[in-house]
Amino acid sequence: MLDALQYEFMRNALIAGVLAAVACGIIGTYVVVKKMVSVSGAISHSSFGGIGLGYFVGINPVLGALFFTIASALSMGLVIKRTRLPEDTAIGILWAMGMAIGIIFIGLTPGYAPDLFSYLFGNILAVPFSDLILMLALDAVIVIIVIALYKELLTVSFDEEFGTVTGVPVEALYLLLLCMIALTVVVLIRVVGIILVIALLTIPAALARQFTHDLKKMMPLSIIFGALFSFGGLWLSYELDLASGATIILLSGTVLLVTLGLSRLRSRARIHETPPNSAGQ
């Protein structure tokens, strides 16, 4: 693997892994604790509409995805908050509509859409330098917003109704959170692809949740896990000649499942060790 570092694509891949880990560690934490996994799935799939738009207009599809995904995140948030449609119904509809728009645009684009597959399933080995710059900029936006609005986002995540009562602009912050999910999706598209994004948004944060009860510590911890998974998955895919995005996801998922299994075994062992009257301490 070390000799592979002499290649630029390999160095770019590692940098992309770190940049992806930052976005998914921070925003994934909110996705997990606020239980926004399905709406995140909808946002990530709807980004396909932006990829299609990018092909059709002839710009970088990732840039097309950036604008389109933010627009679809905002409309999703407004449909969820302002209409009577049940949340999961709205999610299902917008999920499919975004993808449908992508398919139409790609169909309208003359000729064959090159590396379409890499947007769907990711190809961390093919991230161009320009996309790294875009990823870095999006990471910076996410970090700045979360630092500036940490206490507001915490209130909205924990208890929206109480937030409204104390005067927190709940709806605006919910929309902002969805937009940041959209930014994260765009950062992750190159690494694991639209279809697999949801795994990197949830697994590192869910794993970090096993080790801490503090939201502030959950974020750096899930960044570290995300980076380790990217590196580990990249190395495995290189050694075994497998698809990089899918390998990263399978490695992350396996580690999470093993950790859950181990902690279950450990808590069971503890119950057997301690006398019943001191249980629950």
Partner: protein, 252 residues
């Protein structure tokens, strides 16, 4: 002084999908009131509290809190929601939950000040939970959680405290302690407590009203069997108040 009147509702109607939830509610709460509102589930108790908070706007009628529309007075209202609705798995400490109540005094983009943190300590002290400041919310019992949510409401130094079914998940032994806490608090603010538990509420509150879409309020605790029957649409137990709290069953 007009300032004495904390809440005023005049002819308030609330409808949901064309079905009336509240019908022509008139209510006045003064600054040293401790009002209990009882009524069956689905009778509109939570809706009434949300109207006072400005979370639900009535289809007819007028609501004012401290002489202003409720949205403008929210920073003066402490609200303790039915707490079984919150996610026990959320990674947050007791202190951070209480600190949230200071948002109205802090504001967008600002960090919580040392004064906010001091107020948090005081509020936790008041409810007797200061030692739990760094504990995980998910590890608390029902009664302990209830105290934390009261502390979160108190931390903003409200003039009106609204409690929604506060004893629903508190075991009976803790309930007495809980009402003694309210007894202390009522010297500093108006309190409105909503519950379907007639017996416990009527022992401690100063004024009692019955709500089942319509509000039967007489400004005192004397409630006749007729009013209770009108509220619950069925014969109910009567409560009388003497030196020792006790219940009197209606003849049957």
């Amino acid at each position: 002084m007009a300032d004495k009147e904390v809440v005023k509702l005049e002819g308030v109607w609330v409808q949901y999908n064309g079905v009336p939830i509240l019908e022509g509610i008139n209510l006045a709460i003064e600054q040293d009131d401790f009002l209990g509102i009882i009524g069956p589930n689905g009778g509109g108790k939570t809706t009434l509290l949300k109207v006072i908070l400005g979370l639900i706007s009535p289809s007819h009628g007028k609501v004012s809190v401290l002489g202003k529309p409720p949205e403008k007075s929210r920073s003066k209202i402490g609200y303790v929601p039915q707490h079984n609705l919150f996610d026990r798995d959320f990674p947050i400490s007791v202190g951070d939950v209480v600190l949230m109540g200071r948002y109205g005094k802090s504001g967008l983009f600002r960090r919580y000040s040392s004064e906010d943190r001091r107020a948090t300590q005081d509020a936790l002290q008041t409810v007797g939970m200061l030692d739990y400041k760094d504990r995980q919310m998910g590890k608390l019992s029902g009664g302990e959680l209830q105290r934390i949510f009261i502390a979160r409401a108190l931390v903003a130094e409200p003039r009106l405290l609204l409690l929604d079914e506060p004893t629903a998940s508190v075991d009976p032994a803790m309930q007495t302690e809980f009402y003694e806490l309210l007894e202390k608090l009522k010297k500093q603010m108006a309190i409105v407590l909503v519950s379907h538990d007639i017996s416990a509420v009527s022992i401690y509150v100063d004024k009692l009203a019955c709500l089942n879409r319509q509000l039967h309020y007489h400004g005192s605790k004397e409630i006749t069997p007729e009013i209770l029957e009108a509220t619950y649409k069925c014969p109910v137990q009567m409560i009388a108040h003497g030196l020792v709290p006790h219940r009197v069953l209606k003849e049957h």
